[in-house]
Amino acid sequence: MSTDTPDNSRYVAVQATDEFAGLRKSLRNFIFPMTVAFFLWYALYVILCAYARDFMAIKVIGHVNVALIFGLLQFVTTFLIAWFYSRYANQRLDPIADRIRAELEGPEDAK
């Protein structure tokens, strides 16, 4: 709890470092645009379901129509974004976060 540690000056100091600023930027540069992207992509799907019925009804292969393909693509993009984020976080975020964390916690109060 924040109340357990009245002294948060160490955190203020870390927040001001370039290393932390870089980490925060790497995180935000990924998660914010990606959130906007998948939300718009999903919104497009819902809006097409509501307002583009003729387009969604076009048959592509047999009884498989555009609506079904669009829906399945939402699954595909969700899986891909999740995989992509995990790769990005493992490579670009975790090493820096671990380093800052180790510096902050130090050897003496490692839990």
């Binding site: 203020v12 009804a57 129509n65 969700t78 899986f79 999740a82």
Partner: protein, 561 residues
């Protein structure tokens, strides 16, 4: 079930076999999970054990448990039923429920895991005045959980009569359908209280894992059988479903149920906006559901929290893909007439499909009874696991947020806190049983959608602002939660789901001045706006040092519990 059309005697005999088998399998599940619960209780000593399962679960285990918490009877029976009766529109739910996990993965899971301890409010109140924010968070947590809980319990009552084949007028073990419903609600309520008070988070998590495994296995077996029936040709499955539905190609397109087009232009407009409203509430609600959020605390690190969400996305995604096969399979192989004869809402489509598939592939009627019984037992297990998760979330919040931090101002001992959590679980369980018995004759299907709308309108704005907006302050948090909560609940009360329509909760009353059944389109922006407005006009200013601490801790994991 569909055997009503066949020889009556044979039908009775089959139903008896299926019933006995369903009840036996269910008893096995209950004994197994109670055993796990008692074992877990021996390992539950500290508050972290009770609230967070000792933070000892692996990413995969927690991913399974998230799946167990999330794939409710509403998604297994409900979505399959909607697809079976209304075709493509049921798929909208599957997609919204899955895409929603990206919000949790990218914006919430890891940061919450790093900066919180036991409840959602740990993060919301991190840099705020404790009492008002924790009170608001507890109110919202309990509201969302009780709505969800009631929907599941009333659903359980309705299901048992259907799955055990007790028709109006008929009796089973001397009970009529109403008595059986009430007994089921009480039984489900008592079991969920036992799981939570004895097993805590550890016991509840294992119950979720077992349930997720059973549900995935059951759905997978049925999916393979459905595809086998159509020679693994998706187009042939869809074509047969469309033909059998009597609605033709429209069955495979959006619009039969949501965003319905009619001659009345205004009605069409509202119907389409309602579709958008549902879509947005589904995708933004998940990351604000308290029983899902507290699952992130059961793993040791943020990295494990990320892994658990990745597993959850995989498991839930595959499951929702299978609901497509189950729904269209039921439409093609059982037929909508047979489904609506059993249940108008289509909730028995999946079990009826199981019976049809069993008859086809497992040797006639006995095979049908066996598969029906297995799937019915899985459905009961599903309901039990979900209600246990919800009870745990609300009792944690009541004990940790309201009792320990508001009433006792953070001075309660761990032991006292856990005792209060256990008493709360008992109290919340008892209240839910009573409410569910009173609500069982009402149409409560909208309660799950309402829970998602409140989660998206009240909890999500507060969580996102807390984590990312430096100036966000106490009044902003309180305003966001109450603003979103009151708007969402208020709009639903004024909507056609409560009054004015033939399908409404009170069809004879008429105060439906808000035209949409889902409030999300209005209440979610209102929640975000209230959070902003409260922050701007609130007197207490945000503490930059506290934000520095939250930001550094949430991103790096330093000082995590």
């Amino acid at each position: 079930m569909k055997l009503i059309n066949l020889d009556v005697l044979a039908a009775e005999a089959t139903n008896d076999t299926a019933r006995t088998l369903t009840i036996s399998l269910f008893v096995v599940f209950v004994i197994l999970t109670l055993g796990i619960t008692i074992w877990a209780s021996r390992q539950t000593k500290s508050a972290a054990d009770f609230y967070a399962g000792g933070r000892s679960f692996s990413g995969f285990q927690n991913g399974m448990a998230i799946g167990g918490d999330y794939m409710s009877a509403a998604s297994f029976l409900g979505i399959a039923g909607i697809i079976a009766l209304s075709g493509y529109d049921g798929f909208l739910y599957s997609i919204g429920f899955l895409v929603a996990w990206l919000v949790a993965l990218l914006l919430v899971a890891e940061l919450l895991r790093n900066s919180g301890k036991y409840t959602m409010a740990d993060v919301l109140a991190f840099r705020m005045r404790q009492k008002p924010v924790r009170t608001a968070a507890a109110v919202s947590t309990i509201t969302v959980s009780i709505f969800y809980l009631l929907a599941q319990m009333v659903g359980a009552g309705a299901l048992v009569a259907l799955l055990l084949g007790i028709k109006p007028g008929a009796t089973f073990l001397g009970m009529d359908a109403d008595a059986a419903k009430q007994l089921t609600i009480v039984l489900v309520g008592v079991l969920m209280i036992v799981y939570v008070t004895i097993g805590g988070m550890k016991g509840t998590t294992y119950v979720q894992i077992v349930k997720a495994f059973l549900l995935m296995t059951g759905a997978l077996v049925m999916t393979i059988m459905v595809f086998a029936a159509f020679k693994f040709n998706l187009s042939s499955l869809l074509g047969n479903a469309a033909d059998a539905s009597g609605k033709g190609e429209a069955f495979l397109q959006p619009g039969l149920r949501y965003g319905v087009e009619s001659a009345d232009a205004l009605k069409t407009l509202w119907s389409k906006l309602d579709l958008l409203s549902l879509g947005i509430a589904l995708v933004l609600g998940t990351a604000g559901l308290p029983h899902i959020l507290i699952r992130f605390y059961t793993v040791p690190t943020a990295k494990a929290a990320r892994k658990s969400v990745l597993w959850a996305i995989g498991i839930i995604g595959v499951f929702y893909l299978m609901t497509l096969a189950l729904g269209f399979g039921a439409a093609a192989l059982v037929g909508s007439a047979n489904i609506t004869a059993q249940d108008k809402a289509g909730n028995t489509a999946a079990p009826q499909l199981a019976q049809a598939l069993g008859e086809r592939y497992l040797g006639g009627e006995t095979g049908g009874s066996i598969l029906l019984a297995v799937i019915a037992a899985v459905a009961f297990a599903t309901i039990l696991a979900v209600v246990a998760g919800l009870t745990l979330a609300s009792s944690s919040s009541l004990a940790h947020d309201f009792y320990a931090n508001v009433i006792k101002s953070g001075q309660a001992s761990e032991r006292q806190e856990v005792n209060v959590a256990r008493i709360s679980a008992f109290g919340i369980g008892a209240v839910s049983i009573v409410l569910a018995i009173f609500a069982q004759s009402l149409n409560v299907a909208f309660l799950v959608a309402l829970a998602f709308a409140v989660a998206a309108s009240a909890n999500l704005p507060a969580i996102l602002y807390s984590l990312f907006w430096k100036n966000f302050n106490t009044s902003g948090a309180v305003w966001a939660i109450y603003g979103g909560l009151i708007t969402a609940v208020g709009l639903v009360i004024l909507s056609p789901v409560v009054s004015g329509a033939p399908t409404a909760m009170f069809p004879n009353a008429d105060f439906d001045i808000f035209p949409l059944s889902n409030p999300g389109l209005v209440s979610i922006p209102v929640g975000f706006f209230c959070g902003w407005l409260g922050t701007v006009i609130g007197r207490d200013k945000a503490d930059p040092a506290k934000f520095a601490e939250l930001e550094v801790r949430s991103i790096t994991g330093a000082g995590a519990h």
